[in-house]
Amino acid sequence: MSAEETDKALVARARDGDRRAFDLLVLKYQHRVQRLIARYIRDQEQVFDLAQETFIKAYRALGRFRGDSAFYTWIYRIAVNTAKNQLASDARGGYMVSLNSGGSDESDEPMIEPEALRDGGTPDALAATEELRTAIDQAISALPEDLRTALTLREMEGLSYDEIASVMDCPIGTVRSRIFRAREAIEQSIKPLKGA
């Protein structure tokens, strides 16, 4: 089953009462949803709250998801509407969010750079973030060339396994294995830092 079909199967299970199926959907899309909302909302805590609200709304509306569109399209739409409603509510309350024209390719909607999710905060948090970055960079540098290439094509360029297989001239199974091994190696190197 394709990714879209997998999502629909998860929606069907969640609709039947399997909360773990909805958990999988949250795990997969929560970061993308937060980044999307962060393009509308500056306040970091508000971004988290609205992302959470987005999934609550989606869960309550699962019965109305007909599967005409992909699940991620549906959840993105809910996220954008939730963010816009928040902006409208803030404007009514006298709190105006300064918006830059982000030049979105989808519409002329004003959007902001996702400053809310810029790394920062306390000095300790900054130090931990920097340490994590360094560890990942070092782990990537230490990867064999074929693993690093496969992972970079996937994460940086967003290519599918099929496309990567064409670029690297190898079977899809090999691409799948290379990407997995690259992740395993990096994960091992950052595991001590993840808890912090």
Binding site: R15, Y59, R118, L132, R133, E155
Partner: protein, 231 residues
């Protein structure tokens, strides 16, 4: 979790990595992932970190799963059970039904107004006193004639004027019909009564006819005088 994934955890991690990259999965793999959400959560967090660093994005997205589950636990049980169906939603009537009701109301109001108007018109146009008015007398004297003559005799009645038919028990204003006269007396009509008088109509006749028969008020004494003449 299926036996395959239980015996080989690396196979499940392999599947999680592919799932994270939107690659196809089979039902068994999906079941295995659903059977070990904790492991999926752990690896998904690491993969998110790695991808964010490669793309130059922030690490500051947060794992919202716990918060979302807490919120979902607070939802009413009924909502959980009824999720997927519409529940007990009371539907608004359709637009056609609402329009039909508006039209029915408008038609009913129009009918009521029309019936009321017709009823008022009929009741106002009825003149119950006229039912008791005696028909004009062409010959002889009726009791009314005699009563009028008796009342007129108390005043100076012009010579040759026939008495009007009135209802003796009621006021003559607005009740009497135009005068009738005896054919025998027509030859004795004075000039003012036949319209040949150069002095104009007799004020008594004008007053009497205009008050006793307002529907003839516009015709003037001359017309009535002509009527007298024909009679």
């Amino acid at each position: 979790m299926s036996k395959q994934y239980a015996n080989n955890p690396e196979t499940l991690r392999h599947a999680i990595s592919a799932w994270w990259d939107d690659e196809p999965l089979d039902d068994k793999t999906l079941d295995a992932m659903l059977g070990d959400i904790g492991q999926v959560r752990c690896h998904a967090g690491a993969y998110e970190c790695i991808g964010s660093r490669i793309r130059g994005e922030s690490f500051l997205t947060r794992n919202l799963l716990d918060g979302i589950n807490e919120r979902l636990d607070e939802l009413p049980d009924a909502e959980h059970r009824n999720r997927g169906d519409r529940g007990s939603v009371v539907a608004f009537p359709s637009r056609a039904v609402r329009q039909r009701r508006v039209w029915q109301g408008a038609i009913a109001a129009s009918l009521f107004a029309a019936v009321t108007a017709v009823g008022l018109t009929v009741s106002l146009s009825e003149d119950p006193a006229a039912e008791g008015v005696a028909p004009m007398q062409a010959e002889g004297l009726t009791e009314n004639d005699r009563a009028v003559m008796a009342s007129l005799n108390e005043q100076a009645m012009p010579e040759g004027v026939s008495p009007a038919t009135v209802r003796p028990e009621q006021s003559t204003v607005g009740k009497a019909v135009p005068a009738s006269s005896s054919p025998a007396g027509a030859a004795q009509l004075p000039d003012w009564a036949t319209g040949q008088s150069s002095r104009g109509a007799d004020p008594y006749v004008v007053t009497h006819y205009r008050t006793a028969a307002p529907e003839f008020g516009t015709t003037g004494p001359e017309a009535r005088a002509a009527t007298f003449g024909r009679e």
